[in-house]
Symmetry: C2
Subunit: 190 residues, 2 copies
């Protein structure tokens, strides 16, 4: 097995590189035999994902990317410097769909571990209302698609769906456990 970190970079780790997305940290770690080894891990900004809900429908993004076929995914993006994740969720929702929500609630905060410190957060945006038009970046081509809960479960558990693997795993487990799936549904639709 590979030596692993717990997904947490120690506080006294030294940042040895600062990139556009990735920062690299190194630290000395004592091993079982008393020797030390240089450990390395990267930090990357959180991925903040949003599930907008309107009535009994869920909105998904159907997005084209440079050199990649269009796929279903969540709306969302990365936090700006110092931005709270919930604010990122609201901002990205507005930019990518033109919607504002009555309330935005954290559904999941998965932490990717194994040498990468990376939060994958999913928010639910309840009772969304259209307030303005989509305002996309130069690099974005996003279509908004409305699906019901059953189709959402089907789409989001496929290989092609562009979303956190943690969520897919959890969704697959829920599909085998009707009580958990019903609980998840009521979290989305309240």
């Amino acid at each position: 097995m590979l030596p692993s970190t717990v997904g947490k970079i120690p506080e006294d780790a030294k940042r040895v590189f600062k990139g556009v997305i990735f920062d690299v940290y190194q630290w000395e770690q004592e091993m079982f035999d008393g020797s030390t080894a240089t450990f390395e891990a990267v930090k990357r900004p959180a991925s903040v994902e949003v599930i907008p809900v309107i009535g009994s429908k869920i909105l998904l993004s159907f997005e084209e990317q440079p050199s990649k076929a269009a796929t279903y995914g969540f709306f969302g993006g990365r936090p700006e410097e110092g931005e709270e994740f919930v604010e990122t969720a609201k901002r990205e929702l507005l930019e990518e769909t033109g919607l504002k929500a009555q309330s935005v609630e954290l559904l999941k905060d998965y932490i990717f571990s194994g040498k990468i410190e990376w939060h994958l957060c999913i928010f639910v945006a309840h009772d969304c209302e259209k307030t303005t038009e989509q305002k996309l970046d130069g690099g974005e081509k996003i279509e908004i698609r409305e699906v019901n809960f059953d189709d959402f479960v089907k789409i989001a558990s496929t290989d092609d769906f562009y979303g956190p693997m943690h969520f897919k795993l959890e969704l697959l487990r829920m599909k085998q456990d009707p009580a958990k799936l019903a609980e998840f549904k009521s979290k989305l639709f309240g």
Copy 2:
């Protein structure tokens, strides 16, 4: 949604940092509106995992890590400079279990995508025989546990199992598809 790469770093990307594990690459990418943006991605060495098979049993590692409770996982490690993945599998198998296999076969080569170029390979080591003792690094505390196929499926699809999430997803899908699960079993036991 976040801008993504296809998991492949372009050939003309520039390596801007070389670490112990992570190398960071940057390149300019043209966006839909003709503007360009600096894209960044990291490369990390492959994770090579091995499933040793003896008769109707599978061996799993039950390993303690610094500051982490013991968990089940595969045997394996990272390739040395220039080493073929299959040679890594054989070397790690010998070091971590003292076993040699009649044949070693690639079962899966998952490619982690989304700004990280990372192969997660799983090999099956068929008809293993004990040839020597475990020879562990200073940082390793590995117990060898023998399980049957059903227990393997149970253990390897839990959250705690230390293995590629891609494999867990696939295993969960197989659990819902008896034909695929039987096919997987016959790949392991021949």
